[in-house]
Symmetry: C2
């Protein structure tokens, strides 16, 4: 058995049974070994950022790490932005990065680069397999490391992959999740019982599960504390029958207002909020100076159990207030960002997975979907745009029986637009709503927000995606994804209904540019 065969078999035995791949010469034995281990599903991507983003989406929906297969340092570099997002979202992932043979390494061949250094910037665990005898145990360790909510990168020299002498390794037994101590819960119980203005900020495992949200709802009902979710949760369960938990807003001035007057901020699965960027004259965090921050559960700890324990202590028999089923009316007339949100809210299918990279175009989307049937919401955890389409690939591979809906801004779409091809190849049930405002609209706002002088013509040109306008219908059909274009709310509703009803991928380009 060669190294590649033992590696793949070990991954599968440890629960890693999909590999999003963009291979090169140094990974050819890994590719060949896929025929020996049919339990491993190889999914080809045309660009590494699609592979890493897909692995992120897959793991968010399954709770298990996916593998990626990347080609040396440049391949890892191409995947780096979505690895960054995965790292910030604590997504488990196993990267297998092929490298030169051990004897070729010292020859400084054209593709030689410092893979380990690049890997180290996003990975919690990096190892280089040095012999075929080691590779399976290395892979088992990688899966165990990833399961702790981090990226594990295994660098695999080509000859370690092709040489015989390897054997399958057993999975490393999973480590139980860290529990919050009773003392920690008691401290928070005192704060939420203080009667002072208190916000319970939910994130991580707490918003990813109904149990976590319901426990938070009980605490709120019993004590009057306010519930908020972190701004960009990796996965949030939403919809009718759950407590109404809004997200802490993105714009600094709005976030500051949202937390104004708060005396106790209790973190359950979330980290203490900071603004996305620093701005002139604005403090770095929306947390008021006189607010005490309490950590009920840190990311990675069992926040749901902690919240349930807290609810038992402070909420008595209080019943959480739950959202009733409700949908917005279908809008009519000219397409605006809010009209798109209303159409999505009106038509969102049962058990949908929503991937949200709408950026500035997602106006009102949270409110207009809050009473929709139960769904999952995946956000851009690390701010590196270009995660939407790839995450949808992974979510759809993970959940073949659920519809995946991507709310996708145009500028961001272009970073990893190659994901559309994989959707077509795998016939994934993904519907992309493409917000076409022909600009980096968020940057137009940010230019003003940072107080940049000018906003002159030459600056404006660097934020403008018109001239030429991107035709996403052409781009999608060029990659095998049926696509249509909607200029009114009625057209959007009709096209979205059709796209959701038919299997396989679809793209609807929602034109938000001013007429003329």
């Amino acid at each position: 058995m060669n190294g590649a065969q033992a590696l793949i078999r070990t991954l599968v035995d440890a629960g890693v049974d999909v590999c999003f791949a963009n291979p090169g010469t140094s990974e050819m034995h890994f590719v060949a070994a896929l025929d020996d281990v049919p339990e491993m599903r190889g999914v080809l991507t045309l660009f590494e950022g699609v592979a890493t983003g897909a692995a992120d989406g897959w793991a968010r929906m399954t709770g298990r790490p996916a593998a990626t297969l990347l080609h040396l340092g440049p391949g890892m570099g191409n995947g780096l932005a979505n690895l960054h997002n995965a790292r910030r979202g604590r997504t488990p992932m196993v990267n297998v990065v092929g490298d030169h043979t051990r004897s070729h390494k010292r020859l400084d061949a054209p593709l030689e680069s410092d893979i380990d250094a690049v890997a180290g910037t996003v990975s919690g665990w990096v190892r280089r397999s040095l012999t075929p005898e080691d590779v399976a145990a290395d892979a088992a360790d990688a899966v165990a490391a990833a399961a702790r909510g981090q990226i594990a990168t295994l660098v695999l020299p080509a000859d370690v992959s092709w040489s015989d002498g390897a054997a399958v390794a057993d999975p490393v037994p999973p480590r139980p999740r860290p529990q919050v101590s009773p003392a920690g819960v008691a401290d928070v119980a005192t704060a939420v019982g203080s009667g002072e203005p208190t916000v319970l900020l939910l994130g991580g495992d707490v918003v990813a599960s109904e149990a976590g949200l319901l426990a938070a709802g009980r605490v709120a009902a019993g004590t009057g504390v306010r519930l908020l979710a972190e701004t960009f949760p990796a996965r949030m369960v939403r919809g009718a029958g759950l407590p109404d938990v809004g997200k802490l807003p993105y714009p600094p001035e709005v976030a500051i207002k949202a937390l104004a007057g708060t005396r106790h901020l209790v973190l359950a699965g979330a980290t203490s909020p900071v603004h996305f960027f620093g701005y002139p004259g604005v403090p770095g965090t929306p947390v008021p100076d006189d607010c005490t921050v309490h950590v009920l559960s840190a990311p990675g700890e069992d926040g749901v159990a902690a919240l349930e324990e807290l609810a038992g202590q402070v909420a008595g028999d209080a019943e959480p207030q739950l959202l009733e089923a409700s949908r917005p009316e279908l809008p009519t007339g000219r397409l605006t960002p809010r009209a798109v949100s209303a159409v999505v809210g009106a038509l969102l299918p049962e058990r949908a997975v929503v991937v949200d990279e709408a950026i500035t175009s997602g106006v009102g989307i949270a409110e207009l979907t809050s009473g929709a049937p139960r769904h999952d919401w995946l956000a851009l955890t690390g701010g590196a745009i270009g995660d939407g389409l790839p995450m949808a690939v992974g979510a759809a591979v993970a959940c073949p029986d659920r519809p995946v809906l991507v709310l996708q801004a145009d500028g961001s779409a272009m970073y990893t637009v190659q994901a559309l091809w994989t959707m077509a190849r795998e016939q994934l049930d993904v519907t992309v709503v493409l917000y076409d405002n022909a600009s980096y609209a968020i940057l137009q706002g940010e230019l003003a927000r940072v107080g940049a002088s000018g906003g002159g013509e030459r600056a404006g040109q660097l934020l403008d995606l018109g001239g030429p306008t991107l035709d996403f219908v052409s781009l999608a059909t060029g990659m095998g994804v049926p696509a249509t274009r909607a200029e009114t709310a009625e057209e959007l509703a009709g096209q979205l209904r059709t796209a959701l009803a038919e299997p396989g991928p679809h793209l609807v380009q929602a034109v938000l540019r001013p007429a003329g």
Copy 2:
């Protein structure tokens, strides 16, 4: 004057007057300052790999560094693959990477990452500007560092960019190029005069200039040594009136054959050749064991002067043998890779810049263009695919009066296909010949070459780009580039002729898939 204004003015004064940009919030003051320094041309790209590849192409054609503007660590990550290619080609480049404000840095905001570590893997020079007073001098140092044939990366905190107190800095005077010592030339003179089988391997500055090639031709004429060029030169001057210098072949078995029996290998601007990858049972280099390697000039040294000195010592009045003007006949009938090469050879315009990412499809292209009118040839120096379309952007911005022709494989095209949009936006005179073989054809060869077992169905699927077939006409027109599709040699010739005659960008999809 704020930091951004001083930075841009300093760059312009030092000769860096184009910036390929993909900005975000932390770069907004740099963007705003473009209105204050109109001498700096900002070129927007939709993906950072386009920006870095364009900067590579620009510098190869001008000999001066271009700037890139990148957004934090993920932005640099997206540009990393083409920075790798630039590093391997010794391309000068100045990256300006925006970062969080100094006070925001410690807050671990979502976009926080270790920019410096990522930058270090590709840069010969990395610095973080700590105050607005420093930033201009830092920029001048960056340009000077880049001019030594390396990548210089300046990390620019947002508040250093927006704060006042900066002043323009003078350019750092250029350091003269290192000259080869007379003793070094004398050693080589002995070798080439030995009468033993000798190869003069040319690269770097030597193949980028007519003078270098002509001096090499004199040495060959006077001594009988054989001339070869490195396999992937950053820039090579080619065509009628120059010596016939073939490239050392890529496939290891062919490269080994090309150097078999050689007793002296003299390097002029090239490094000692190694195979791209290690293969089972194949030595890592094509250089025979009993061959002595002599370094006439290392990359970065003045190889042209050294060769001219050598020619003076060993070649007497010998005249170099020069290629006569010749073009292949226009082929007819079914399109094959060789037929595409013949069409290109027949129609290659005077003073064209050819960007070569044809990979396996470039069959016969060297021979079929060797007698064409004088042209420049830019190759994939680092093996990280996805450099073709971006380099063409940069070359066309650098040489607005010259036609740019890209020989582009389909699989590679998809890594940075967003470059087409910038070609349309800037109305660059670029013609793309897109080789559509619907596969990672090189990997099919490599799978066999590394002796990977199987080549079973599942392995084959990971090397196949059919299902769905990529429609590059749709992709190009979706980004504003007029495109056509050719299935016969006659169609290709007609379409290529039209594309070359018209200004602005064009794409011709050359269908090489078997019929049916």
